[in-house]
């Protein structure tokens, strides 16, 4: 799709090329990713593997009971890791935008 001189297809191609060429873009997002992985592992250690339980519809009651019994813990985990994750996500986004801006200026 092109809007006057903005071609979304070209921008998507350019973005994928930048990400593949420069691992720094991935590296910036490793920080929030690690937080989310730690959160998931923490949840898994306490309440088990929700993903494998949710594959089987017969386990719906079991999942409901599991969530009900651990609701305060789950909320605490989501808030705690959620806030840390958002902070690191903001750091990654700000760094990435600046990096793209600087590199585009250098290419001119």
């Amino acid at each position: 799709m092109a809007n006057n001189d903005i071609d979304v297809g070209f921008l998507i191609k350019d973005a994928f090329k930048s990400v593949v060429d420069d691992p720094g873009y991935f590296a910036l997002f490793l920080l929030p990713l690690i937080v989310y992985i730690v959160a998931m592992v923490h949840l898994w250690f306490i309440i088990g593997d929700i993903f494998s339980l949710s594959q089987n519809l017969q386990n719906t009651e079991m999942i409901t009971n599991l969530l009900r019994n651990n609701i305060s813990f789950i909320i605490a985990i989501i808030i705690f890791y959620g806030i840390i994750g958002i902070i690191f996500y903001a750091v990654a986004m700000a760094g990435l935008i600046k990096k793209v801006d600087v590199q585009k200026i250098n290419h001119r």
């Binding site: 799709m1 809007n3 006057n4 001189d5 903005i6 979304v8 921008l11 998507i12 350019d14 973005a15 994928f16 930048s18 990400v19 720094g24 873009y25 991935f26 590296a27 910036l28 997002f29 490793l30 929030p32 990713l33 989310y36 992985i37 998931m40 593997d49 993903f51 494998s52 594959q55 958002i86 902070i87 996500y89 903001a90 750091v91 990654a92 986004m93 700000a94 760094g95 990435l96 935008i97 600046k98 990096k99 793209v100 801006d101 600087v102 590199q103 585009k104 200026i105």
Partner: protein
């Protein structure tokens, strides 16, 4: 610009950037949370009129939220690139996306479809009984699509400010793009 330089910049501009994010979240989700609380109040006190009113308002608010989301989609880029305050970055995004809502909507749609395509094999494998494959797919989707989306939006922002014909809102910050 190296990884460490980018990280150092983002830590320095963090308070301003994070404030902009909080303000954006408040504008987008504040009314939604209020309405959901109103709906919960209606359900708990069994007031049918209140439930109907809050449901109707919720539909209208959801449509409005989508539109506002598209108009404010470039506030992060405005905040970082033009080095402006959180309120000004939201204003800047609102001005710069005028007449480009469809472009941003289509971009988000395409990014969403690509993300979905990345996740599909992991969902299929997970349904086939492969353990831990779904979280791996989700993390992979996050690590690939987050930078891609941010780069695309930054490129769109740079192109939009380049072709902007109206006088710049903040000439002191305007670069020679």
């Amino acid at each position: 610009m190296s990884f460490s330089e980018a990280l150092s910049f983002s830590f320095n501009s963090f308070p301003r950037f994070f404030s902009a994010m909080l303000l954006w979240a408040l504008i987008l989700y504040g009314p939604l949370i209020g309405l959901i609380l109103l709906m919960v109040l209606g359900v708990t006190s069994n007031l049918t009129g209140l439930i109907c009113l809050s449901t109707f308002l919720l539909i209208i608010i959801c449509i409005l939220i989508i539109y506002i989301y598209l108009r404010l989609a470039l506030f992060m880029q405005a905040c970082v690139i033009e080095n402006i305050s959180p309120v000004d970055s939201l204003k800047r995004s609102w001005i710069i996306t005028k007449g480009n809502v469809i472009l941003i909507f289509v971009t988000i749609l395409i990014i969403g479809i690509i993300g979905l395509v990345i996740t599909i094999p992991f969902t299929i494998a997970s349904n086939a009984g492969v353990p831990f494959i779904l979280p791996i797919g989700m993390f992979l989707n996050f690590i690939i699509m987050s930078p891609v989306q941010a780069i695309i939006f930054t490129l769109i922002y740079l192109k939009l400010i380049k072709k902007q014909t109206s006088p710049p809102l903040y000439p002191q910050y305007q670069k020679s793009y």
